[in-house]
Point group: C2
Chain length 374, copies 2
């Protein structure tokens, strides 16, 4: 990154910065890993929510993508994407919107885990994956649940059974590649077992979809799997660094903020990035290193040792040395610009309607729109 990127000093703070070079490095890392495993990558765009970012993924608009809302499906289809998985259990009331997108040429696929949903989906003629519970984290059926075959038959009778999918959300509770590889194998073995059970019942199961950011990076063998999903890997965050999926240097998102005051007797520096700017996410609270509301960097992105955002109100953040650190507190006069690395990129980015992009090619900042809503 250039030492004085033109434009940063002119931004209204707080503002969301995206380091394009780091993002591209992260994207290429997982694409190379997926290629080496022989599976397709179906990036999850719930973190990015940006057409500009989606177009920088390996495959362009013909690539498969994953979304977390129908609003995302609509925006990305408008941008040209046609192979889209909506990876949140379908509510029957949402099928009309799914059908409308499909009628426009979008191959939008939904997920479900109950006969009731399967009946509604089959009646609507919408293709679906059956969600498999590989780790007890959230929704889905166990691979040996007899209901799996019942659901498969309801979908199969109308030709809308596309396969199975699973997500090991519990992989976020363990640290290091070896531990994540165990969850990756749990995803793989559960999904493949479910696919085999469906096939043994005479049902088709062309798609076997697995993934989370920790397991996607740690997987060593994905035999039987057809595609890998992950989302936050494009930009990473402090939670992912805490899990050792990446290092602090890989974090592509930061919040630009300005110093607005001090309480010297307490060792506090007040900034204009509160929880509205960082989100209320405290994902590192129960990790080995609690990063408060974020790690403090100088305006060029260099980490200021042991300095974190210790607490936050709506539009105020309080920076202090982390508990046990010796200091001294650096001199940060009112008006100093700083950058804060976020706990959870999905939550922090959701507080903004645009990325201010530090271009990989250098030169002035670019502005990329991002969207929210449902």
């Amino acid at each position: 990154m250039p030492a004085n990127n033109p434009g940063i000093e002119d931004l209204t703070t707080p503002a969301l910065l995206l380091d394009e070079a780091k993002m591209m490095r992260n994207i290429e890392r997982l694409e190379a890993h997926a290629r080496s495993l022989g599976v397709a990558l179906r990036p999850h765009l719930k973190t990015a929510k940006s057409v500009e970012i989606a177009l920088r993924l390996g495959g362009g608009v013909s690539a498969p993508i994953t979304v977390s809302t129908l609003a995302e499906a609509e925006v990305f289809h408008d941008a040209g994407f046609t192979d889209i998985l909506y990876a949140v259990g379908i509510a029957p009331q949402k099928l009309a919107r799914v059908q409308a997108l499909r009628a426009k040429g979008c191959d939008l696929v939904v997920i479900l885990d109950s006969p009731e949903q399967a009946s509604a989906v089959a009646k609507a003629g919408v293709p679906a994956l059956i969600e498999i519970d590989s780790d007890g984290h959230r929704g889905g059926r166990l691979a040996d649940d007899p209901a799996l075959i019942e659901i498969g038959k309801i979908l199969g009778a109308k030709g809308v059974l596309r396969g199975v999918m699973t997500h090991a959300g519990e992989s976020y509770t363990v640290r290091g590649a070896a531990a994540h590889a165990e969850f990756a194998e749990l995803e793989r073995s559960s999904a493949v077992k479910a696919a085999d059970a469906l096939r043994a019942a005479g049902l088709p199961c062309p798609i076997v979809s697995v993934g989370s950011t920790p397991t996607a990076h740690a997987a060593r063998d994905l035999t039987g799997v057809t595609e890998l999903r992950a989302g936050v890997y494009m930009v990473f965050d402090l939670v992912m660094a805490g899990l050792e999926v990446c290092t602090l240097d890989d974090l592509a998102l930061s919040v630009l903020t300005t110093v607005i005051g001090h309480q010297p007797a307490k060792g506090w520096v007040m900034i204009d990035a509160g929880w509205m700017a960082m989100s209320r996410d405290r994902g590192t609270q129960t990790m080995d290193v609690d990063q408060g509301y974020g790690v403090v960097c100088d305006v060029e992105g260099r980490v200021l040792r042991d300095l974190i955002v210790r607490s936050a109100n709506q539009e105020h953040g309080i920076i202090a040395l982390r508990s046990g650190a010796k200091g001294p507190l650096p001199d940060l006069p009112v008006g100093t610009q700083l950058r804060i690395l976020p706990n959870h990129a999905c939550a922090t980015a959701a507080q903004y309607d645009r990325y201010h992009v530090l271009s990989a090619a250098g030169g002035p900042l670019k502005t990329w729109h991002r969207f929210g809503g449902w």
Copy 2:
């Protein structure tokens, strides 16, 4: 509220609902209290961020208001408001935007607590209040800090000293009106002491501004104070109910959601309101009653006993009985609409760009725009 308000069943979930009758009752409650104390009310619009709500406050566009961002100041000034306090310590870089608004006829006043800020503000000719630290919560100067007079003289020399302000954010850490009244007296006595010190130094101090939602409701005597600030009182939330500032029946905001799955063996009901819909705020986590990510109500707003959102992912919430509750879990089939009362109205509302309003007059839902950003 009508039993079957037309329109709710047609909303895409998650969606933010606002009960207008409850909001008007809350607004009138604090306005009556301020009148009884003989002080002006300067509502804080950081929670509402809606012109429609601002216009339903007592005084119309001639009333004083408080904002937390310059974007709020700009929107509310465009709507006709002219007496605006920007209640976050000013960064010198933001003064050009403040001056632009003032040049358009907006009497926008800023706050500060350092000689450096005072010099920049005086040079820009922008009026300011000096922030007083009444409870050690955040920014501000102690009422007996000699720097107060130094700052006052810098502002006074250019005729831009408007007065003092304080906010007892620590009032959120105690429960009940008696405890909140002690913080209200701390706000009053600190602000009045600072005003007296400035006046004794020959400086003007026409405005003495205090407030937080708990202290504003509990204050019994505001002698020497000229105005009272509060924000979340318009809609309240579970944190305010936990502090006994209101009851659950006063909560005017809720999130409409739809059931999307079950894990019966675990007693889980999955909904499409995750942290994106509720925010990551866990403000009740350390209170006497931890409400998880929110209290579950039926679609008409009746609390379902002992049912809370126990955990949340981005677009998934998991409803379960609160710890220790006996059950049974009510029957909530896929497709059932529910309403969730939020921990923290400011954070939850920030996730949406509109309110779906249950009209006080009955009839169909209204849609009120809300905005974010800086």
